[in-house]
Symmetry: C2
């Protein structure tokens, strides 16, 4: 009997990924279907729908779901959901497709899925603007005027939405591929059923998830260790989806986590995994998404630190923690989010504390603390500078240094937003 | 609206302490009543009943309560309770008292309370042995034979029970005094209503309690700081009741806590308090008692480390954590214990971790860790030796050193059991 939190939505893991004969048959059929070209973000969402990571979603959202999620954090059936998961297409694609058609979703390399189209709806500029304001506006840009002054240039999530085609297609999908993830990240890429199996085998009940999209330093290690002290174990869950230029590639980040886990963790209390999504940089809303899909992976707690899933100054430092107190808690089996936040303040090494601490536990001054922005860190590493003591673990810094020695000429060091996130 | 956990028992805080006119009247009446001489343990229990710390108890237990608590962890009305809270007396006292009598409970200095006697029952040697085996036998002495080989000589809790008179008296009490506590520990001694008020004023909901009966070193600080990271605040709650020779007096311990809180804590996340009980050294059962009365003080979490409330080798290292999984959870309003354990493994400073850690978070070797038994610590301090780096905070060690410089000649350094506890 599993002690883990059940998947979100009350329907178990809803996995739309085909296998075996069904997969072979559907692949064959897909060749003859009209194709819609999908974006990298849609590709990641699709794989999550395939593996059950986005349970209870079985496909892309209808207009009513889209509206309900934006206005009330609820799907049209009353289940909690925090961000739109939609499939966009061009006007030409839309014109060629009738309701009831089966279509093939093509990522440029392979047919990722088929979909039975149940609804088509326009996404006007006004709709997209509405989606952006609902999804991405936070305390950093409290008015639409503030927001739009910088959002198009500086917010990658906004850019993704505004670049979408003028129509969305809705319907249930049959997923045919997990793309490169199972092979490229063998042993790290885990489906929700697999992480649940690992947790069950260890007898875990309360599992905390750490969301990671940057190399893991002592601040992240500290978050994990607090979780290990108070939960059965921690799931270090890295984004291995597509990245922006200048970000540290997932392979390097995974190697850093490995080094850290091997040298500084008690193995039986930690599991490492990767998931195929692109960042939306939706801050508070994305923190909720992170908790929602972590529930599907078997986690009952989601570690939320400062500026979770943030970019630039769009969100308040702890807005992603506060939103958990504001979301609706629908009644009915599986309707509410069951993965609760493990909220942790800004963390750092403090010389006077003689160890890691946070703003909740350290009463000392700024100069007693080792603080380093992500931007500064990359600058030091890429220029061969020395990192301050206690900031990172030697084994991790060494991996990063080698990576930067190899790539300094090739990648831009100034990053697109990733400097402030986790 | 308070966000705190309600008091245990579903009846609010049951406070049997009289005040104002009622107190003056009862004091006058008490002078004319037959007296029963009470033990220090009973005195502490009485003050807890007075302040609501032992809610829902309104007096000393009947035989049925005593038996229910020992056999099933339940009072006769089905409410959870972990240890006997009984009033013993001599054969002569018993003979002079009739059911229905009001009596005065005298501690040797003052009349602490009056009690309406509703039941008298014999405590034979067999009964006391039964109470001891149920209350104090743990994994360290799994058979009665093992237990009794050492219990009478080495277990202060057993000694207390076996030294009791041959009868118990039951009935509701009216408490007339809190003895020296409110003046001697002004600002530290808090009633449950007072700690709740402080917590409410800070807007706290989830409060963790740290039980403390030894000077506070970095291990205890670390337990508190984990609690501060994951709860609204921590209540550092020291035993200021009577001590055995060789223990550090409460005043000194309180001073150490002050120094620690002032220099190493963020004040708004910590409250210090003292409570008037004697240790029973009942290990697992006492951990449950600690959680039960902390619920009354407003705490929803009770920090349980290694060998909580232990003495010698009577209990397994984590038996006091495990018992929380084994106790009954009665249904009905207020019947079940609502203060849940915050279980934390053995903690220490580790050089390789470069900070505090526990056996759950540190994968390194014994020689990488700063470990020091309580006995060794006292030896070093009393002999003017140097403590290993990172074990304690300088400000605290300084206070202890001064205390030992003054008292080394006066107190025995080898302690009665306190070496292993918290």
């Amino acid at each position: 009997m599993s002690k883990l939190v059940p998947p979100h939505g009350g329907k178990g893991l809803v996995c739309m990924l085909l296998e075996g004969d069904a997969l072979a048959k559907e692949k064959e059929k897909a060749k003859g279907l009209k194709q819609v070209k999908i974006s990298p973000r849609v590709k990641g969402d699709l794989i999550m729908i395939g593996t059950g990571g986005f349970s209870p979603l079985n496909g892309f959202m209808t207009k009513a779901d889209w509206k309900g999620v934006l206005d009330k954090f609820l799907l049209s059936d009353g289940t909690f959901w925090p961000v739109p998961v939609t499939l966009d297409c061009t006007a030409a694609e839309e014109a060629a497709i009738k309701i009831g058609d089966e279509i093939a979703l093509f990522d440029g390399k392979e047919i990722m899925a088929t979909m039975k189209v149940t609804e088509k709806y326009a996404m006007t500029e006004a709709d997209k603007i509405y989606e952006c304001e609902k999804t991405f506006m936070g305390e950093g840009t409290p008015t639409a005027e503030d927001f739009w002054k910088i959002a198009k240039a500086d917010h990658p999530g906004v850019q993704m939405v505004m670049a979408q085609g003028p129509f969305n297609l809705a319907g249930p999908v049959k997923v045919l591929s997990e793309a490169e993830y199972p092979t490229k990240y063998a042993g790290v890429y885990l489906r929700p059923a697999e992480s649940r199996k690992v947790f069950d085998e260890r007898g875990w009940g309360e599992v905390a998830a750490l969301q990671l999209r940057n190399p893991m330093h002592r601040s992240h290690e500290y978050l994990c260790k607090i979780a290990v002290e108070v939960c059965d174990g921690v799931f270090i869950h890295s984004l291995v989806g597509n990245l922006k230029p200048g970000d540290i590639p997932a392979e390097v980040r995974v190697k850093c986590i490995d080094a850290l886990v091997q040298n500084y963790f008690v193995p039986k209390h930690v599991v490492q995994g990767g998931y195929p999504l692109d960042m939306r940089y939706a801050g508070p809303r994305e923190a909720l998404l992170h908790a929602t899909f972590r529930q599907n992976y078997g986690c009952s707690r989601m570690i939320i630190g400062r500026d979770h899933a943030g970019v630039g100054d769009f969100y308040g430092m702890f807005e992603a923690q506060d939103i958990f107190n504001k979301i609706p808690c629908p009644t009915g089996e599986g309707k509410a989010l069951l993965c609760t936040p493990l909220k942790i303040d800004w963390t750092f090494y403090c010389f006077k504390c003689d160890g890691m601490a946070s703003l909740r536990t350290c009463p000392h001054k700024k100069e007693d603390r080792v603080l380093l922005s992500g931007t500064m860190l990359r600058k030091l590493l890429s220029e061969g500078g020395t990192l301050p003591d206690h900031f990172g673990r030697d084994e991790v810094v060494e991996i990063l240094r080698k990576y930067y020695e190899g790539v300094t000429d090739k990648v831009e060091v100034k990053l697109h937003g990733a400097a402030t996130g986790k």
